[in-house]
């Protein structure tokens, strides 16, 4: 199968004087259109790994290859461009822009490109909002939505530019169990329908069990890497 993400010998050391190594020589390939989960104890380095994968953070050494592009020698602008086109992010704290409506938040990845807004984009935004079940609240300011609604808006936003990869850091961490299930099922459906690759950090063992592959991080190393046949 095609690899869409490839991490090669990733090390991450924090601090200049007191050095703490958080990631140790990580090698990881993620297949196109797969749905993988990352689990592990608090402080094990999951978020660090995900942020490095998403080019938000730089590794101390090692290569990150995204959709066959090595990001090592790219400058900040090129990385921004890459994130805009290839990656969608969903975080635990929903991080919508409260100054904008749900609809505008969904359009945000397109708006920052400063290209003229056409009917095509508007329709896509409405379509995505409809897909995540938020047609009714699309013109609400982001600050006036429930946590689950905000997280579903964030999913619609992550999808807007049709990125091949979505990275999610505890996307259901702040939601009650009903909302958690809705949000997770939604991501699963998107993965099936559009073939979008998902890499999701979760604390919820039941959620991890429903993914194609479970990667456990322990003390900055991959401790366990399970193909989860039962999920298919």
């Amino acid at each position: 199968m095609d690899k869409i993400i490839s991490l090669k010998n990733i090390n991450k050391i924090y601090g200049t004087y007191i050095k703490t190594q958080v990631l140790f020589d990580i090698n990881l390939d993620i297949e196109k259109s797969s749905f993988s989960s990352i689990i592990g104890q608090s402080g094990s380095g999951k978020s660090t790994l995900l942020n490095i994968t998403g080019t938000l953070d730089k590794p101390t050494s090692g290569d990150i290859i995204i959709d066959e592009i090595n990001t090592k020698n790219m400058n900040k602008n090129q990385l921004s461009e890459l994130r805009n086109q290839k990656l969608g992010f969903i975080f635990q704290f929903h991080y919508l822009l409260p100054e904008f409506t749900a609809y505008e938040n969904v359009l945000m990845p397109y708006l920052i490109k400063n290209k003229p807004l056409t009917d095509k984009q508007k329709e896509r935004a409405y379509y995505l909002l409809d897909m995540v079940g938020l047609s009714k609240v699309k013109n609400n300011p982001a600050s006036r939505m429930s946590g689950g609604q905000q997280q579903r808006t964030a999913i619609a936003r992550a999808l807007f530019n049709n990125p091949p990869i979505i990275l999610a850091d505890e996307p259901t961490g702040n939601l009650d169990s009903d909302s958690s299930k809705t949000v997770f099922d939604m991501m699963r459906d998107i993965n099936k329908e559009y073939g979008t690759t998902f890499l999701v950090i979760t604390h919820d063992r039941r959620i991890a069990d429903k993914t194609d592959r479970i990667i456990e991080i322990k003390d900055g190393k991959i401790n366990l890497d399970l193909k989860n046949g039962g999920a298919e």
Binding site: S47, N51, G54, L56, D57, K76, N77, S80, E81, L82, R83, N84, Q85, F89, F91, Q92, F93, Y95, L97, P98, E99, F100, M108, P109, L111, I112, K113, N114, R157, D169
Partner: protein, 383 residues
């Protein structure tokens, strides 16, 4: 650009109280700047107008006090060189007026009665302009002191070679609002003056020009162009150097005040925008994660500065104009004329707008730089 502008606007609108206060702060600063610049400029114009409004800016005489024979050439040349607003051909000299047993020393001046720099028509408070030979007008103070009125005949006594006896009829009384002139000047037309002094040319030419502050340059030009004819040229600036250095000092302190006000405003804007960058760090972090470039991030805050500056300047100019209106309406003399006549022009509005907008944009540079440096990981990690 469009995205940055829109985001800047939304960010400002998301904290209306803070935005309102800083716009008000800018507006107060700009209004003070506008008010002070107009007021000080007007004060200076008033002072200059009072000092030289009714006196020549450039004066041409003959070295030894004789006639200026080539006066027509000098006038033509000066008109070509400078923007002459008025000029006078003057024939003047001392005379005595015989009043009873007294000999009163006066300055008899023959001038161009109709379009003189002295604006005689407006200065006459009774009677008429002396148009014919042997007609004169006298000053208000002179008339009151010696009880001489319109229609009276006065006798003159002069010395040139021997005794000169002349007489003339008073056709009117002038008031220059300067007691010295009102009591010692007697004005007439040039024909009468030629006859009184026994000459056929004037002995002085007086010019008023539009750009008064270049009088020294024109004066030098006239001097060098007619250097071989024995003329002497003087101009108002060398005669009023104390006034000018006073005005200069005033201008400098006015500019200092304006600069300090604007610096205070700029610091206010900068600190508010730095706080805004902190307040909006989550938003900036998530936008950067989505692919917003650092340059675009800075533009958001530059636009915030621009918007604050724009609205601050608009409101500030409105307040400033209101203050100026209030000043010219309520700060008046007993006769209802304003204490300081205000000279207002679009120039001031343009300068104040530029000052407001530029200082806001410059103040936004540090906050914008801070926002560009903001690391999205920090924000995402720390919630």
């Amino acid at each position: 650009m469009k995205f940055s502008l829109k985001t800047a606007f939304r960010f400002l609108m998301s904290n209306k109280a803070q935005t309102f206060l800083i716009v008000l702060g800018i507006a107060v600063g700009i209004s003070v700047q506008l008010f002070i610049s107009v007021l000080i400029d007007s004060l200076q114009k008033n002072l200059i107008e009072k000092t030289i409004g009714n006196s020549p800016h450039i004066t041409v005489t003959e070295m030894s006090g004789g006639s200026v024979e080539n006066y027509n050439e000098i006038i033509d040349y000066t008109k070509k060189e400078a923007d002459v607003s008025a000029y006078d051909i003057v024939t003047e000299g001392p005379f005595f007026v015989l009043s009873g047993s007294e000999n009163i020393s006066v300055l008899l001046r023959g001038i161009s009665m109709k379009d003189s720099i002295y604006n005689i028509k407006e200065k006459i408070i009774s009677g008429n302009i002396p148009e014919n030979i042997n007609e004169v007008i006298i000053g208000k103070d002179f008339s009151e002191k010696y009880n001489i009125n319109t229609g009276d005949k006065i006798n003159f006594l002069g010395f040139k070679g021997g005794l000169l006896r002349k007489s003339a009829t008073v056709t009117g009384i002038f008031d220059f609002k300067v007691s010295n002139l009102n009591s010692t000047w007697i004005l007439t037309n040039n024909i009468t003056a030629y006859d009184f002094f026994g000459v056929s040319n004037p002995n002085k030419i007086e010019f008023q020009i539009k750009d008064i502050f270049n009088s020294d340059i024109y004066s030098e030009n006239i001097k060098s162009n007619f250097s071989n004819t024995g003329i002497k040229v003087s101009e108002w600036k060398e005669q009023n150097s104390d006034l000018l250095s006073g005005l200069n000092g005033q201008s400098i302190s006015s500019i200092m005040i304006q600069i300090f006000v604007i610096v205070a405003v700029a610091l206010g804007i900068a600190s508010v925008l730095i706080i805004t960058v902190l307040q909006k760090s989550k938003q900036i972090g998530i936008l950067k994660a989505m692919g917003l470039k650092n340059r675009q991030t800075s533009t958001i805050f530059i636009f915030e500065g621009l918007l604050l500056g724009f609205f601050g300047a608009v409101i500030g100019i409105a307040i400033g104009m209101f203050l100026l209106w209030g000043f010219s309406t309520f700060a008046v003399n007993p006769d209802k004329t304003p204490i300081v006549k205000l000279y207002f022009g679009y120039r001031y509005i343009i300068i104040s707008s530029l000052v407001g907008i530029l200082s806001s944009v410059i103040s936004a540079i540090i906050p914008a730089g801070k926002s560009a440096k903001l690391d999205p990981v920090e924000v995402i990690r720390n919630g």
